[in-house]
Amino acid sequence: MAKILKSHPKRRLSLRQQDARTAWLLLIPSLVVILGVTLWPIISTFILSFLNAPTGINQARTFIGLDNYTTMLKDQTFWATIGRTLYFTVVSVGLELILGLVIAQLVNSHPWGWKFLRLSLIVPWAVPTIVNGAMWRWIYSADFGALNGLLMQLGLIKHYIPWLSLPNMAMPLVILADVWHTMPFVALILQAALANLPEELEEAAAVDGANAWQRFWQIRVPLLRPAILVALIARTVDAFRVFDIVYIITSGGPAFKTITITYLTYLNTFSYGKQGTGAALSFLISFFTLIMAFIYIRVLYRPEENQ
């Protein structure tokens, strides 16, 4: 037996294998923590979405299958809210993309003071959303707001307008506040991408007679597509889940005209005490978000252009 053991000495790991093992050992604690704070809540929320789970201590939870999902999918309020959220998402992300591209172009053309301009872009983005919401709520205030003050001084209005009381104006005003806050994020991503574009292509196109507009659409935009994709996915996912800025500026009013899908989830979960419904709504939000990301990737992602 001793002979056999001697003839099969313990296999020694190569240095590379030892390194890998050490790396995994060191990573395990953080992996456990990360899985604990991300994976477990997702699993837990998923299970919750199949339960009738009223808020409270020791409240009886009963399995109701897909009821939370089917109830919501049959609910007119849900679909109206989805429509409103899509409206917010499309308009705000669209404006952010257009304005972001314009500003990125402007910064990239290095006009006088462009470094200051680039730096000042960070300011709106750095303002916490809650502070941004409170600031815009005051700007829109009917009696004390800067918007009414400005329009009065310019002679464009004769009476103060109660902006946030107008059902058709409230959402566009929330969008404006959101665009001011997050457009710099898009502008900075696009400006960084623009700064790295090869100049030779545009120079060659110019030599061949392409005008500035043609160079922009035929060369710059295609080359910017990966950066646009990143910005669009990040902003769309974020915009579709918008909550805090709505909560602060309008509280979902007037007459539910600014209630978004995340706000509806919040109301169900915390204000109405329906945790199961809230969990189901959370997964429906994830589902819609994934669909949008998928569409973006299918439409915009062209790996052959990046090679």
Binding site: Q18, T22, L25, P54, T55, G56, I57, N58, Q59, S141, A142, D143, F144, H159, Y160, P162, L164, S165, L166, P167, T250, S251, G252, G253, P254, A255, F256, Y266, L267, F270, S271, Y272, G273
Partner: protein, 431 residues
């Protein structure tokens, strides 16, 4: 590798040791966390002062107060109760929340802790707010109603010597004020998509002889009385008498408008009056007076003498707190008669003895504003109407908020909007 395992083992032992140290019971004073609102009642600085006084008398207890706007308190309690032990040992609870929170098991039954002196000394209406099925779930703290306040200067300039007694009379006065150009919009309300709009609707509904529910619990706010009220509310906006920004104004926004001298009339909680005499917040110091809350002509003819809404609140101990005794000690100090008299400029006491005999004179002399606020309270509180006490109140309230806003913004007719809200209430009651 052996060296590595030794190091890993040593790190693990250290982490475990550190965790055990963390688990050890801390010596020194017990810290209790209390959540309340920064809106009606006492200001944070005043409550902080009470907490420091309490700590000086009870060195074994440290009090950490947390203040948030009223609209955030409910949801902070719900999220705070998800933790073990709870994020808060006690919290302010509005008069509309006990049913929901008792059902959720959030509130500690304090019936046995309430002494006979407390029971008989504090207004029965205050106890009603935290008593369900004979059990008491909190310590009363603030007795508040919505008051009718007006700007004496504006009324005088308009030629009126007294505030209106009915809402119809208010409209007549408001038209004169507007015609004379004294203010653009004479009336400001809190009609946003928040609880404030339900409070104001309660004031008007009961003042028209209406009610939320009938004896069988069926919603009746969509009957003729309720529709008349909502139609009247909309008409005052259309006629340019109610500030259209009311649809987006909560109570602090109403106060800001009124104290800037932009409105002749405002319906709000007591804090607006004390702030009206604070020159840092008010441009109409000394110009604000209370009037009895008007009622509608129809209500007056039906014998209704007054109408307001109960906005009282209490402090409840969270059921899962490990420090129930210490928390109760603090809450009883907070609600004690001496403390409440000392700070009565912002909030009148909950002790009924203070409003009787010699104590009344003492209370009125306690602060410069008490000679005005005490009679206003005594005149208005008896007419405070309750909002429904049901466990699904928040969702029902949201349905009513939506209906009122839909009618005010012209999205739906008052009848249609209220019918839909009533149908939602029936659906919620049936679940």
């Amino acid at each position: 590798m052996r060296t590595f395992y030794k190091i890993a083992l040593a790190i693990l032992v250290l982490i475990l040791a550190a965790s055990l140290v963390g688990c050890a019971k801390k010596a020194g004073p017990v810290t209790i966390h209390v959540l309340t609102m920064d809106q009606a009642g006492l200001k944070p600085a005043e409550i902080d002062q009470i907490a420091r006084d309490f700590e000086a008398k009870n060195p074994d207890i440290k009090v950490v107060m947390e203040y948030v706007g009223y609209d955030f308190v409910h949801d902070k309690i719900v999220t705070g109760m998800a933790a073990k032990p709870p994020a808060y040992d006690a919290a302010m609870i509005d008069v509309i929340w006990p049913d929901e929170f008792i059902k959720a098991g959030y509130l500690l039954d304090v019936t046995k802790r309430v002494t006979a002196e407390m029971k008989s000394g504090i207004f029965p209406a205050a106890w009603n707010g935290v008593t369900r099925n004979g059990k008491i779930y909190g310590m009363p703290w603030l007795m508040d109603v919505k008051y009718f306040m007006y700007n004496k200067d504006i009324l005088q300039q308009a030629g009126f010597t007294a505030p209106p007694k009915t809402w119809e009379e208010l409209v007549d006065q408001a038209k004169v004020i507007k015609q004379k150009g004294l203010v653009e919009f004479p009336i400001i309300w809190s009609w946003p998509q928040k609880e404030g709009v339900v409070c104001d609707f309660t004031v008007l509904l009961f003042g028209n002889g209406g009610a939320f529910l009938d004896a069988s619990g069926k919603p009746v706010f969509n009957n003729e009385k309720g529709v008349q009220v909502l139609t009247w509310m909309k008409k005052t906006i259309d006629d340019g008498l109610t500030n259209p920004s009311s649809v987006a104004s909560d109570e602090p926004a109403v106060e800001a408008d009124f104290l800037a001298g932009k409105s002749a009339y405002a319906v709000n909680w007591l804090f607006q009056f004390s702030d009206s005499n604070d020159a840092s917040k008010s441009q109409i110091v000394g110009k604000v007076a209370f009037g009895a809350m008007p009622v509608f002509d129809a209500g007056a003819k039906a014998g209704i003498k007054g109408s307001s809404v109960d906005g009282s609140s209490s402090f409840a101990i969270m059921a899962t707190t490990p420090y129930a005794d210490q928390t109760w000690k603090f809450l009883t100090y907070l609600a004690s008669n001496d403390v409440q008299i000392k700070f009565s400029a912002e909030m009148l006491p909950i002790w009924q003895g203070d409003f009787q005999g010699d104590s009344l004179a003492k209370l009125e002399a306690a602060t410069p504003s008490n000679p005005i606020t005490v009679p206003a309270f005594l005149g208005q509180f008896p007419f405070a109407n309750e909002r429904p006490t049901v466990s699904y109140y928040n969702e029902a309230s949201m349905a009513l908020q939506l209906a009122i806003q839909e009618a005010l913004t012209g999205v739906k007719s008052p009848q249609q909007a209220l019918d839909e809200a009533a149908a939602k209430w029936v659906q919620l009651a049936g679940k």
